[in-house]
């Protein structure tokens, strides 16, 4: 079953483009990554999914329900973590968590306590005394304490130290195993690579690729690193070339025979050919788009 489904979703802010014709599908129980640089339209998409802004055209269905008509039912089962956690000043964390639970008409005290312990968040502290990281933790508890079926996370790890990031992703994986779908928007490609099953790449408000993370990682391009001396002139399909003192590294998407011939004419002391990491794939897609433009 499709948990999130957008149809020709378009948002313009006046004459400025937010997103255009977005067709996004997220399945039930999926850990879905959302990749793109600043201004690509990730946050606009998330705001549209949560009903914070209204689409210029197109529509959104979540849990099979029309967002505009059944927004409250959808939000009841959704947890949202914004990239910057702005919370009410003058409140203690425990009152904030109670407020959030109260607005959901749900008693979340036990789960809130458990999450605070795991994230090492002191609920008796005042919101204005919290560091950026601790504010983020409070927002995480607010997003998770009602055990939603869908989690929407916008740059969730900014401000969290590495240990907390690890614990946070551990919690997310647990929730995912229990059946919750997760939409993770991030600049940190390793987060997507290590946690998501599928991902979409956004550029200039349009989705330029959407596939399983595995497929992204196994594009035809390979990362080739040659120690020694080799003349790569004339070899087609070489990109992202990095020359070191005694080695050269490049992404190669050309003919393998041509590569081997070229290498055999040089003096190769050592050679590694690996799958590119997601960051390289991301750049590969961007460059491909630019070439096409």
């Amino acid at each position: 079953m499709e948990l999130i489904q957008t149809m020709e979703l378009t948002k313009y802010y006046g004459k400025t483009r937010g997103i255009e014709g977005l067709e996004l599908r997220v399945e039930q129980g999926e850990f879905f990554g959302f990749i793109g640089p600043n201004g690509a339209g990730k946050s606009t998409t998330i705001r549209l999914l949560l009903g914070l802004i209204r689409p210029t055209s197109g529509s959104v269905r979540v849990f099979g329900k029309e967002l505009q008509k059944e927004k409250n039912d959808i939000l009841r089962e959704t947890g949202y973590l914004p990239s910057e956690a702005w919370l009410y000043q003058g409140m203690r964390v425990r009152d904030l968590l109670k407020l959030s639970a109260g607005l959901r008409k749900k008693d979340c005290a036990r789960e809130a306590k458990r999450l605070c312990e795991r994230l090492q968040l002191d609920p008796s502290r005042k919101v204005e005394d919290l560091s950026f990281g601790n504010r983020k933790k409070a927002a995480i508890v607010c997003a998770l304490q009602h055990q939603p079926k869908l989690l929407v996370l916008d740059e969730p790890t900014s401000g969290l130290d590495p240990l907390m990031q690890r614990e946070f992703f551990r919690i997310l994986r647990e929730r995912n195993r229990e059946g919750a779908a997760i939409l993770l928007s991030s600049h940190v490609l390793s987060e997507i690579e290590h946690n998501c099953t599928r991902a979409a790449i956004l550029r200039d408000g349009r989705m330029i690729a959407c596939s399983s993370v595995e497929v992204f990682s196994k594009t035809s391009a390979k990362r080739v690193t040659v120690h020694g001396s080799v003349d790569l002139n004339g070899l087609e399909g070489v990109r992202d070339r990095k020359n070191e003192e005694a080695s050269v590294s490049f992404l190669y998407s050309g003919d393998m025979d041509s590569l081997l011939c070229t290498l055999s004419r040089g003096q190769v002391k050592d050679l590694t050919i690996t799958e590119p990491d997601l960051e390289e794939v991301f750049l590969h897609y961007y460059e491909k788009e630019e070439e096409g433009a």
């Binding site: 705001r47 949560l50 914070l52 702005w86 407020l99 607005l103 959901r104």
Partner: protein
């Protein structure tokens, strides 16, 4: 009513400060009356001969030597301006503060319809304004009793009712404005309240500008008129109620469709 409770908690310090300040100023004015009463015979005559200045504040038609005359002008200004500023500040920031303080994302991603958010926020403003008026009314009555003056119930009731209506009207107008703002709401609220106050002063000074009394809620709160006629000007009050309701309606229409940034 989770949001009503939350708003009341968030606004409790400002509520106590404003209520205590207006209440204390009113009580001080009333406690000064016995001392001033004896000196007022000449003062009333002086005020009535000061032309536009006295007209602006309605002092040409009131006898400062009586408690009702004194209360309508001195206390009326304290309660009128103080109450108007408080009601305007409360209402003008109640919706816009969520975007200004960037808490709108938190609130609006909970399963609460925008209509309910608007309604609960409006209720919280009304509760604060009403509670402040009840406390201040009690402070006034107790202070008058404490100085040993007979309590002019009808005049006091009418004056306080008029100021309560004024605050509700201003709250309604500012609530509507709040739905359109994203920041800088405080100045707008104070500006609207002050502008309406000065419109009434202008309306009192010249007959040509008397129509302004129908625009500003201070028109139907004129102590001189209420004490002299023994009733509120229903026409002006009705226009005021309509303006307040229009503000509230504008808030619903705007905020339910607004893009939240």
């Amino acid at each position: 009513m989770t949001l009503v409770k939350h708003e009341l908690r968030q606004g409790k310090i400002s509520f106590f400060i404003w209520t205590a300040s207006i209440g204390a100023l009113l009580a001080i004015c009333i406690f000064l009356f016995p001392e001033m009463k004896g000196q007022m015979d000449g003062v009333s005559e002086m005020f009535s001969s000061m032309g536009s200045f006295s007209q602006a504040f309605g002092m040409d038609r009131l006898n400062f030597g009586t408690l009702t005359g004194f209360y309508a002008v001195e206390c009326g200004n304290v309660l009128g301006l103080g109450g108007a500023f408080y009601a305007a500040l409360c209402a003008v920031s109640i919706l816009s503060k969520e975007e200004k303080d960037k808490t709108a994302e938190f609130l609006l991603t909970h399963p609460v319809s925008r209509t309910r958010i608007i309604t609960e926020k409006l209720i919280s403003v009304m509760i604060r304004v009403t509670a402040m008026n009840i406390i201040i009314y009690d402070v006034s009555v107790v202070s008058i009793a404490a100085i040993g003056e007979p309590i002019p119930w009808k005049e006091i009731d009418l004056l306080h009712l008029a100021y309560y209506l004024l605050q509700l009207e201003l709250a309604g107008i500012c609530f509507g404005i709040s739905a359109f703002l994203r920041r800088g709401s405080m100045g707008v609220g104070l500006g609207v309240a002050a502008m309406l106050y000065f419109l009434n002063l202008i309306a009192n000074m010249t007959e040509k500008a008397e129509f302004l009394k129908y625009i500003t809620p201070f028109g139907y709160c004129e102590g001189a008129g209420i004490v002299t006629d023994g009733r509120l000007n229903v026409g002006m009050a009705a226009v005021g109620v309509a303006l307040g309701l229009a503000g509230i309606l504008a808030a619903y229409l705007s905020y339910t469709r607004k893009d939240i940034h």
